[in-house]
């Protein structure tokens, strides 16, 4: 996939590197590190404006469809029309669009300045937790099946209950593998008048529809609660869990109000060999940052108007795509989808604007005892996880600038190594070894008079 990048894309990053005007930028995407970086990762897209919320739950479940089931506490009763089956490709697109990115620059010949850049992005895909499911009515347990729907390939129940013990028993009897200690958690949600959205796959419908994967479920509701229930998930005591929350809002960046939100380290120069191992770099860096913050924070990985990007890790989403992800406040209008060329359409602006925030959290029950609560802020400043590779110029020409350049190069390489070590916790000596020897200055062993009359 090769694309030409815009001029501005390079300019913003080149300030430190080159004071000279850059007039011949071109760049391309290298292959994406399309790996399953994080196991047990969930992805949720939340579009929200006012009290209206559309939540899209990604479904990367890879097992037998008949074994799939989810139980999600929801703040309100849901009618059939409030439930929808979305498109996985849109979540993947949003994921790619907001992913931390690698930007690559080639130092120019100090004697003749020119440079190129490259960009790549990591994407994360991971299966959602799941359990088996079957259904049976059991009024004596105090469980009320408020509604049953079939939407797309899913059979959906909206449950409420008099008491949590009955609900836990009912779920277990019906084949849901409820984790130990689920009853008190279910109880606290019931006491808050929350319902339970329970979905399993209708094999017959799935066969009719012909999909060989499970599409994401979407629910639309109106509630002042801007939160994501994570407590049920933390009961599955298999270590930590990974969660990506993508929010689409009108005003600006979203943050958590009950856990500190911090920015992932960004805009740093790292050794060029990381290019072939960007996925491992990102994963190690994230782990190191989580440890540094004592696993008590939510990380901001991207915050930007969806109308543009700089650099773009993927095409910006069109209005139609955003609408399908739940953005209900966009008025009808031509989508600003870019078609080839520099992928940097201008911001939509105004009332129809959509701001995307990507939050990444690694959590367990001990460090994240309560559900995530969010707020939308008025912060429209841009942020992205962006890591810079600067390839050294390897030419052999000599000029005073080249000599100065070579002098600075070893300092720069050492700084890059130390940055990488501090970000990832990798061994500094190993990093230096992988960096290899720097480009040496051309050793000109000719006698001075030979150089004089060459």
């Amino acid at each position: 996939m090769k694309r030409r990048l815009s001029l501005l894309f390079g300019l913003a990053a080149l300030v430190a590197a080159a004071p000279a005007p850059a007039d011949a930028f071109c760049g391309f995407f290298v292959s994406k590190a399309d790996t399953k970086l994080f196991n047990k990762a969930s992805k949720v897209v939340i579009a929200r404006d006012g009290n209206r919320t559309v939540m899209t739950m990604s479904n990367d479940f890879k097992g037998e469809p008949k074994e799939f089931a989810i139980v999600v506490p929801v703040p309100t009763f849901l009618q059939k029309e409030q439930i929808h089956v979305g498109e996985q490709s849109l979540i993947d697109h949003l994921d790619a669009f907001t992913a931390p990115r690698l930007v690559e620059y080639f130092d120019e010949n100090p004697c003749d300045r020119r440079r190129y850049m490259t960009d790549s992005a990591v994407r994360m895909q991971a299966p959602m937790a799941a359990g088996a499911m079957a259904q049976e009515s059991a009024k004596r347990l105090g469980v009320t099946i408020e509604a049953t729907y079939t939407v797309g390939e899913y059979d959906i129940l909206i449950l409420s209950a008099k008491e949590s013990g009955g609900l836990a028993t009912w779920l277990t009897q019906n084949g849901y593998k409820m984790p130990q200690g689920a009853a008190p958690v279910l109880a606290s949600y019931l006491a808050q008048n929350m319902r339970f959205f329970v979905a399993k796959v209708n094999i017959g419908e799935q066969a009719k529809l012909g999909f060989n994967y499970l599409r994401p479920l979407q629910i639309a509701y109106e509630s002042p609660k801007f939160m994501l229930p994570i407590r049920l998930g933390t009961l599955n005591a298999e270590g930590t869990q990974e969660l990506f929350v993508f929010t689409l809002t009108n005003k600006g960046r979203v943050e958590t109000t009950n856990y500190r939100t911090v920015r992932l380290p960004s805009d740093v120069e790292i050794p060029t060999y990381v290019k072939s191992d960007f996925g491992r770099f990102y994963k190690s860096m994230f782990t190191t940052q989580v440890q540094k913050q004592s696993m008590s924070t939510v990380f901001l990985e991207y915050a930007w108007d969806t109308g543009w990007c700089d650099p773009c890790a993927a095409d910006p989403l069109s209005n139609d795509q955003l609408r399908k992800l739940g953005v209900f406040w966009l008025d009808g209008g031509a989508a600003p989808t870019p078609t080839g060329g520099p992928m940097r359409p201008m911001p939509r602006g105004g009332a129809g604007s959509v701001f995307v925030t990507r939050l990444h959290v690694r959590y367990d029950g001990a460090h994240f005892p309560e559900d995530l609560v969010f707020q939308e802020t008025g912060d429209r400043s841009n942020f992205q996880g962006r890591y810079i590779l600067r390839h050294a110029w390897t030419g052999t020409e000599t000029c005073s600038e080249a000599d100065a350049y070579r002098g600075e190069l070893s300092t720069r390489r050492e700084k890059e190594a130390q940055t990488l070590a501090s970000l990832t916790g990798w061994d500094i000596n190993e990093i230096r070894r992988k960096q290899g020897p720097g480009p040496r200055a051309a050793v000109d062993d000719r006698a001075w008079w030979q150089r004089l009359w060459q």
Binding site: N258, T297, T377, S381
Partner: protein
């Protein structure tokens, strides 16, 4: 977080210097270690605008002298709490905070805590203003430190009764709710360990200029602010319950002062603070309060 408008309450001098030092320390810690979302120039701009407004109002209201201390405290508090997308919001908040002390008065006592009033007004008029209640994280050590430092300031201001009434009632409501819901007690404990809540308790609601004069009224007021804050946070599911609550309850203070009149300067009570025998007479204190 406004003026602590009285003369030196101890041999350590005017407690406002102490408060300025603590707030400055917290701001340094917040910006340097916790990476608060403070915009570049927000701090110098807020400080400058607050001081200029204080100076201008001192001239307009013909005060005998320009006293920068309470203005500095309001400005530092704004920097600690208010997050902005455009700089004019910081400037406007500073003007509102300081000017409100002079303009919105009942019986020579300003109604709104300057920082609180300014923040609430900004939240109401522009989306470019917000608060980040989780910015302090919930590190227990830090919470403890803040409680100690804040407690000391509140004690010196002799308004620890309102702070204690607030935090006791608020904690009781939080634990009560979690108990009712069957949540583990780590949830309310964690919520109480919030740096933002402690900052509010020991630095904002304990502001002696805007709390009721009578001790019983203060305890009632603290409890009411706690209840309204809890209601906003856990019944209406809105953020920043304590900030909204204090602004909503503030207009009740003049009413409480009328129903339960008290001495405006409780710190002159020698039984409460024997050290004050060495302080100037109440008459002098009264004069000073109008200056601040």
């Amino acid at each position: 977080m406004s003026a602590v408008p009285h003369p030196p309450a101890s041999r350590f001098g005017d407690p406002r210097y102490y408060q300025i030092a603590v707030l400055t320390g917290l701001l340094a810690y917040g910006t340097l270690v916790l990476e608060f979302d403070v915009r570049r120039w927000q701090i110098p701009l807020t400080l400058a605008v607050a001081l200029v407004t204080q100076w201008a109002c001192s001239r307009l209201w013909k005060l005998p002298a320009f006293d920068p201390r309470s203005a500095l405290i309001s400005a530092l508090s704004l920097c600690l709490l208010l997050r902005i997308d455009t700089l004019w919001v910081a400037a406007a908040a500073a003007v509102v905070a300081i000017a409100s002390k002079f303009v919105v008065q009942v019986g020579k006592k300003h109604v709104f805590n300057p920082t609180n009033g300014a923040i609430v007004l900004m939240l109401l008029i522009t989306p470019a203003a917000w608060l980040s209640p989780a910015q302090w994280g919930s590190v227990a050590f830090f919470a403890f430190l803040m409680a100690c430092l804040g407690g000391l300031v509140a004690y010196r201001a002799l308004r620890s009764d309102v702070a204690l009434a607030f935090i006791v009632v608020y904690a009781a409501l939080m634990f009560g709710r979690s108990y009712y819901l069957g949540e583990p007690m780590t949830i309310p404990t964690r919520r109480l360990e919030s740096g933002g809540l402690l900052l509010f308790t020991f630095f904002m609601i304990s502001d002696p200029r805007t709390t009721p004069d009578h001790p019983i009224a203060r305890v009632l007021f603290g409890a009411l602010v706690a209840f309204v804050a809890w209601y906003i946070q856990f019944r209406l599911f809105r953020t920043n319950g304590v900030i909204w609550s204090l602004a909503l309850c503030a207009p009740l203070v003049p009413v409480l002062d009328r129903v339960l009149p008290g001495r405006r300067f409780a710190w002159t009570d020698a039984a409460v603070l024997p050290l004050l025998r060495r302080t100037p007479s109440p008459a002098i204190a009264l004069e000073r309060i109008h200056v601040s």
